[in-house]
């Protein structure tokens, strides 16, 4: 019984006699969250405290974004009452800003799943503290995106005719239509993303339940479903998360592919392209990664989560974004080169429009924002600068929004019948609704940040248990234990 080896609780830091070594270890700890463990209660407090304390600034922005949401829904009601005619939509450009928003918000909903599911499957450790925020970007992005097909409908109040449901008309929706594929894919993706986020939230809800009192305690007790963290619970939890991770990745790819098929299935020049599927997926991940960075930088500052969200995580995201920027360049070039070489008249006119026509400023701004600005991420100084990353991500959002605008209404403007060509200009109603949609995503974040822990603390602790230090020569490097 005497000489049995024992491990230390992961938050205990052994005293280091050698001063140089202690400094070295301190340096490594500053850089890496997973090597910088604390007593979990302290970390839990860091996660939970911002939920109860709302500053005046919080309420100011809360009111601002709530106002934007109100504006959006008011405009929508007015539009339903008066008719879609109050927007700038017209004959050749039957789809315009609403569909741009739809594609854009579905797009930013892709990075969350990619980060929490794909990086989980690939065992990328820097995903741990950011996966919750990324999942929420997915859920809120998708919720907002799912509104747009409804806003866009001519008779919104008949939207349930699209649902396969035995109604009085004995009529079922047509699964020939890419819109029904969309509906199915988004239902799958949104509902499963919510479940996925909820499953990974369960242990955190239990944590919140154990550290709160009053109505919050009751709320978390109900939502935690009686989680105690038994072996069986953890084991089933792990299995479920793995099933979700592997299942939701192909669904994620399918969703934006199907969104691209909404366009590619139409025999509209500029849309009818086989590369649209992967091209849209990459574009979605690209803008999504940017959106996650924006969300993370704001959350980090506003909720004082500097302990959890460190430069290493943002740098990881930045590298991912750089890679996705190159991938986007590649696919965009493919999408442009083939029709350009074909010199089909309508597509030729479209390229003339991009290169020197009325949309040329938008086109060059898009190229600048999507292909040139992200190249600055090759410099470590930009990757590790939070302001720099924020600006690059903002550029990418603008660039990707323009990209969708150039595809949808500008693409529709030039078609096979030159007599029906037209120029689309957004009017006030759709502009207000689009601004309101951005407000909605941010508002939902404001709301959720008061109710649910934005850091998956159990995942962080798991990583802290598994990581350690190893000396190689003069250096001290982080190492990781792989459980399975």
């Amino acid at each position: 019984m005497s000489e049995r080896k024992t491990d230390q609780a992961f938050w205990r830091r052994p005293a280091i006699a050698d001063e140089t070594e202690a400094h070295q270890i301190e340096d490594v700890r500053q850089q890496h969250l997973l090597l910088d463990p604390r007593y979990p209660l302290d970390s839990d407090r860091d996660v939970l405290d911002p939920m109860y304390r709302s500053s005046k600034r919080y309420w100011f922005f809360f009111a601002l974004f709530a106002g934007l949401v109100l504006m959006m829904f008011t405009t929508w009601t007015v539009q339903m009452w008066l008719g879609l005619g109050i927007t700038g939509l017209k004959r050749p450009t039957m789809w315009a800003l609403y569909i741009v928003n739809f594609v854009y918000f579905i797009g930013i909903g892709h990075a969350g799943t990619f980060i929490s599911a794909a990086l989980r499957v690939l065992k990328v450790e820097w995903r741990r503290p950011i996966s919750r925020a990324a999942e929420l970007v997915t859920v809120f992005g998708l919720m907002t995106a799912a509104l747009f097909p409804l806003i866009h409908l001519g008779r919104t109040w008949k939207f349930y005719w699209l649902i396969p449901y035995p109604n009085e008309r004995q009529l079922w929706p047509s699964f020939h239509s890419p819109l029904l594929w969309d509906l199915t894919a988004i239902t799958t993706y949104l509902s499963c993303s919510i479940l996925f986020a909820y499953i990974s939230l369960l242990p955190d809800l239990a944590m919140a339940r154990d550290h709160t009192s009053g109505w919050r305690h009751i709320l978390y007790s109900v939502l935690a479903l009686g989680w105690r963290g038994t072996e069986r619970e953890w084991s089933n939890h792990e299995t479920a998360l793995n099933i979700f991770s592997y299942a939701i990745i192909p669904v994620m790819f399918s969703v934006h592919t199907i969104v691209s098929w909404d366009f590619a299935m139409a025999i509209q020049p500029g849309w009818h392209s086989t590369i649209f599927g992967p091209y849209f997926v990459v574009g979605a991940l690209f803008s999504g990664a940017g959106a996650v960075i924006i969300a993370l930088t704001i959350i980090r500052k506003a909720m004082r989560l500097q302990y959890f969200l460190r430069t290493e995580h943002l740098e990881g995201m930045a590298k991912l974004m750089l890679l996705l920027s190159f991938a986007w360049d590649y696919f965009y070039f493919n999408d442009v080169l083939v029709p350009w070489y074909g010199q089909a008249p309508v597509e030729k006119s479209l390229f003339a429009l991009f290169a020197s026509g009325r949309v040329a400023p938008l086109f060059y701004l898009m190229i600048f924002a999507n292909a040139i600005v992200p190249v600055t991420l090759v410099f470590k100084r930009v990757r590790t600068s939070i302001v720099g990353l924020f600006i690059v991500s903002l550029f990418i959002q603008i660039g990707m929004y323009i990209e969708r605008f150039l595809i949808v209404p500008v693409g529709l403007g030039q078609n096979e019948i030159p007599f029906a060509w037209g120029v689309y200009v957004p009017y006030l109603p759709e502009s207000l609704i689009s601004i309101g949609a951005f407000g909605l995503v941010i508002f939902l974040f404001f709301l959720i940040s008061r109710f649910f822990p934005l850091i998956p603390s159990w995942e962080v602790y798991e990583g802290q248990v598994l990581q350690g230090l190893r000396r190689i020569g003069r250096a001290i490097l982080p190492t990781r234990a792989e459980p399975d």
Binding site: L171, L225, E231, Y461
Partner: protein, 362 residues
């Protein structure tokens, strides 16, 4: 046999594993000991038998259900309502594959979630033996031991450094242990759905809720709970053949066909108002005129309500002031909403009717 419940917290994994090994040596079976933690410690790290969960089985069943649903939604509906949309044929394969994929994935993940809940007996809202410090990073060991072994077990926990030790006497065993066939069946049900399925109304509430929602949803389109939004284009602004008001002709409108009244000349040779003529006139009036102008000629016939303005009051001074020829032309050509009766009444009949109308004068 009374049971005692022991719960103790540990800081580190190694003493936890030691405790668990010693409890096993003491004769406490593994399924009477529960380890709880705020971090997913794998059972093998603590020297515990692996947990066999059935979440993957649930996911597989869900995938199968999803596949069948998708197939019914696509091919089933297409065969039920065969439409050759865009020359794609009745049952096009590529769209089917897309729906099959999506709905299968939907079934897989939803079922995995339901499986997770059922396998963990979630939700549990009654109080459980638990220590909130577990989410602070401690490892909790919960042992269900016979009363006579409880002191020894407690000593083991203490010796390995357990803190916040609690001991509770429990009358009922936490887990049913299989004995004869019936007991094993019961145990099977309890392991599948939790020890107190019937006491927990959660799943019943969920099932009833889904049924009620579907029913309410179904009642709205079937008009049982009518929602009066007139957007079905059932109210048309166009006017059908037999409906709506008949507008009067503009005041200055003149007939452009048929005889024209020339001042001083009769429109046709008048017939004298003999008794025979008046009798014939009454019969003809009752056949052709009475529905609008009424039996007494006051313009209150059965159809008069459908006309704006109302049919003329034939007894009025204004009508009676018409010359015979003017009345003749009105009958022949119609006037305003009044149709031409030339096909119903020949020239002599018209004079009979005129004579009869004259007799209606007050």
């Amino acid at each position: 046999m009374a049971k005692n419940l022991l719960i103790g917290l540990f800081h580190e994994a190694t003493p936890t594993a030691d405790t668990l090994a010693q409890l096993r040596e003491l004769g406490i079976p593994d399924d009477c000991v529960t380890v709880m933690s705020g971090i997913p410690y794998r059972p093998e790290w603590l020297g515990r038998p692996p947990v066999r969960g059935r979440v993957p089985m649930f996911a597989l069943i869900g995938a199968g259900l999803g596949l069948v649903t998708a197939f019914v939604l696509t091919w089933g509906l297409w065969l039920l309502y065969p439409l050759n949309q865009g020359g794609q044929g009745i049952t096009p394969v590529p769209p089917t594959l897309i729906i099959l994929f999506e709905v299968t994935m939907l079934g897989t993940m939803w079922a995995a979630f339901v499986g997770l809940l059922l396998e963990n007996r979630f939700p549990i809202f009654k109080s459980q033996l638990y220590d909130p410090r577990i989410t602070e990073g401690h490892i909790g060991v919960l042992a269900e031991v016979d009363a006579e072994l409880a002191d020894k077990a407690e000593a083991i926990l203490k010796a390995n450094g357990a803190h916040h030790l609690q001991r509770v006497e429990e009358k009922y065993p936490l887990f049913a242990r299989p004995g004869n066939l019936l007991d094993r069946l019961k145990a099977r049900v309890t392991t599948l759905f939790g020890p107190d399925l019937l006491q927990r109304p959660f799943w019943l509430v969920v099932a009833v809720g889904i049924v009620v929602l579907l029913a309410v949803g179904a009642f709205i389109p079937y008009g049982i709970f009518p929602v009066a939004i007139p957007t079905q284009m059932e109210h048309q602004v166009s006017i059908g053949f037999q409906q709506g008001p008949r507008l009067a002709a503009p005041a200055a409108a003149v007939p452009v066909q048929g005889p024209v009244l020339i001042a001083g000349q009769p429109a046709s040779t008048p017939y004298p108002a003999t008794a025979d003529s008046l009798q014939r006139g009454k019969v003809l009036y009752d056949l052709t005129c009475v529905v609008c102008h009424g039996a007494s000629g006051d313009g209150n016939g059965r159809l008069s309500g459908f006309f704006v303005p109302k049919p003329a009051d034939l007894t009025s001074a204004r009508t009676q002031a018409f010359s015979d020829s003017q009345i003749f032309l009105v009958i022949t050509q119609g006037f305003g909403a009044m149709p031409s009766l030339a096909e119903n009444l020949d020239v002599q009949n018209r004079w009979d009717v005129i004579n009869y109308v004259r007799s209606l004068k007050k």
